[in-house]
Symmetry: C2
Subunit: 427 residues, 2 copies
């Protein structure tokens, strides 16, 4: 059955369309933090951040159904839902970030953010990290350094080493390490200015999710933000992964205490429904719109906004941020305990309900082991728990469940991980 | 009430977010080809192509609801809906176009099509028309010649005059006119080759919808297709407006009898739900995917595909293509009659249920009158019929209703247009 599906898939969408797991999973139903396959097997979903309030959340489905039966049109007519949603959304930011542009995908949100900073600064140069991905459009793909050995092929993009303490730049520590990362940004800005490209801004994930959720040296991000602005650039935070409560804060930048000029968002925004967008200041968005005719046919339609509102309702009324902090701390503690017993764990990172587990073949040398990570995640899948991996060496187990994740779910995740690490150690 | 809404809108999404009509319409409900405003007034929707099978079509809403309550995940797991939909969709094309990439918006579809032809040809140069718009991403926006006086600012894009018989290039006619348009494409290809940019392909709407639906000199499009391929380029047809039965054929290129290498699609695909994509050959898509990691989080999810399937079901089972041909011919005949009585109509274009009415201040000189077009469409709105305008001079009344448009609806459209033209003639 799955074999037939796989062959049909190869024929209709191609072998190159990405699939998870050595034995791909044929899913048929989702509920809360659980997925079910065609044979009725249950899986604990510890990967998917899109269904942020749980797979098929009934309140979200009800809002979707009600509005889809009433009206679904573009935003060149007046409708309350666009305004109610934008008002609720912008209220979760501090004062200067008070206006929105709604799109359908995070790629579109990042693309329009790039258009915005380039249009308003009159410069082209964008700084990103050396192990990242922000989306699939031509312009955003120029930042996909994770597929290109840490570099961009575009003269308009420069990658800096992402800040971390685990494999610190040049083996430095403390203030010297912080200085080194800040200097990389300075150097990139200077190179843009000298090449004539000019410096438009910086686009990064505030928690460096694709980079493997590194611990960032203290003070680096506020210093980088200051430097970007002093050079006339704008700071864009891609909150597609960090946003909507993932870290225990509504937004990742609120956790790290750095205010950007533009926030982009996507994946969890509609719990699976295609809604995304950016939030910035009225000054910035009005200046952009006065120069550029930007319209998005499906962006901000009444159905998408009804869904977005329902997601915000559930996050707030079910106190999911509190749950993220409580259960997140519980999982983090469990992972630290696992690290004591499993040599293959080199490091543990935790931000709310987002975890990275560094798999290494030599803990002292911090030798990354993509192979071990791959074995663990496939074994987890066989044992009914879904996770993935990330990071520049593809060796960081990535765990990022829907937010209604309980301590019971956490126990299941931790015990299955424990078993799989044990089994893999003896392969 | 609408005043409050407007002020909230300016505060939350900005004055630059586009709105229709001098007195914006506050819509609250849609049903079939009708929209209703907050005061309970009914409007005949003769503009929106997105709700192709009618606003809030119950079969589409039911499919959406059922699947949204069951499962909504990305395509890195196996699921039948992606395959069932892709199979049904590609079956509407002739044999070489047998594989798909699903996205969320037409902009994304055109962006990945541009990535594809540039990646596979190793060249950058794209030919488009001089009065077009294909979407809002950085790369696709380089083709937005309608906002830039008929030109592109990018060295990677060259605009050719769109082919038409109403205001023919250099006043030519017959074979000489056809030759002239073909020569423009030849010249653009040569210029790309000489500049070192190289020629990657051509991206146009097969019915030149944004250009005002011009009558194209016979033989021009097949000749252009041949030239593009002989030069090693690929032909992309943007069927975002022409596709899904609009012309009385399933695809606009089937009406004009020219087979492209890539077809992009969007707007009507999900009747308002954000689904879009491209269809091409397995050879082209597999070659692209072997070089580029393309993934779209929401693209091809089970909910979008269930919606897409329902749209295809309704188009087929309700025989909407037949309706398009029948009612389309009826409206076209009515418009020709109006032209006999209204001097302000310079020309009538009709393709299925898609109509362009050229408003002119001097019929002999074909002097475009954007002012008259604007007056007519705002008066139509006041009289309960929604249309818009298009074309390089913004003077072509654009009528493009949902496909379940009956002769009774057509009578209402025509009689209201008659009255509004009469009233405007005496202003």
């Amino acid at each position: 059955m799955s074999e037939d599906l796989l062959n049909r898939r190869y024929r209709l969408v191609g072998k190159g369309a990405p699939l998870f797991y050595e034995k791909p999973l044929h899913v048929v139903r989702g509920e809360g933090v659980l997925l079910f396959d065609a044979d009725g097997n249950e899986y604990l979903d510890a990967y998917n951040n899109v269904p942020v309030v749980g797979h098929c959340n009934p309140r979200v489905v009800e809002a979707l159904t009600r509005q889809a039966g009433l009206l679904n049109v573009h935003t060149r007519y007046l409708h309350e839902n666009l305004l109610d949603y934008t008002e609720r959304l912008t209220a979760t930011f501090s004062a200067p970030l008070d206006m929105a542009i709604l799109t359908c995908t995070g790629s579109e949100a990042n693309d329009v953010a790039l258009r915005m900073v380039r249009e308003l600064t009159g410069k082209r140069g964008i700084i990103c990290s050396n192990s990242t991905y922000h989306g699939n459009t031509t312009a955003v793909d120029e930042l996909s350094t994770m597929f290109r050995g840490g570099k961009s092929e575009s003269p308009n993009v420069r990658a800096i080493p992402f800040p971390e303490t685990y494999r610190p730049l040049n083996g430095l520590t403390g203030e010297a390490l912080a200085d080194a990362y800040v200097n990389e940004v300075q150097a990139a800005i200077r190179a843009f200015e000298e090449s004539g490209t000019g410096f438009a801004g910086m686009l990064v994930c505030p928690i460096f999710a694709n980079e493997g959720l590194p611990d960032v040296p203290a003070g680096v991000m506020p210093r980088i933000a200051r430097i970007v602005r002093e050079a006339g650039g704008m700071l864009i935070f891609d909150e597609v992964q960090a946003g909507f409560g993932r870290t225990g804060y509504m937004w990742g930048h609120q956790m790290i205490g750095v205010e950007p000029d533009i926030v982009t968002m996507g994946k969890p925004m509609g719990n699976g429904h295609p809604i995304a967008g950016l939030v910035s200041s009225a000054d910035i968005i009005n200046a952009f719109r006065s120069r550029v005719m930007y319209f998005n046919t499906f962006g901000g339609n009444p159905v998408s906004c009804a869904v977005g509102l329902a997601v915000l309702d559930v996050i707030q009324e079910e106190r999911l941020l509190d749950n993220v902090r409580n259960v997140g701390a519980y999982v983090a503690q469990g992972l630290r305990e696992l690290k004591q017993r499993h040599e293959a764990i080199g490091d543990i990172r935790a931000r709310g309900l987002f975890f990275g587990v560094e798999m290494v073949s030599d803990r002292a040398r911090k030798t990354p082991s993509a192979e071990m990570a791959n074995m663990v995640l496939n074994r987890m899948r066989e044992n009914g728990v879904l996770i993935s991996r990330a990071g520049p060496f593809d060796n960081v187990l990535k765990m990022r469940p829907p937010l209604p994740f309980t301590k019971a779910h956490a126990d299941r995740l931790l015990s299955t991980l424990d078993q799989c690490l044990e089994a893999v150690a003896h392969v």
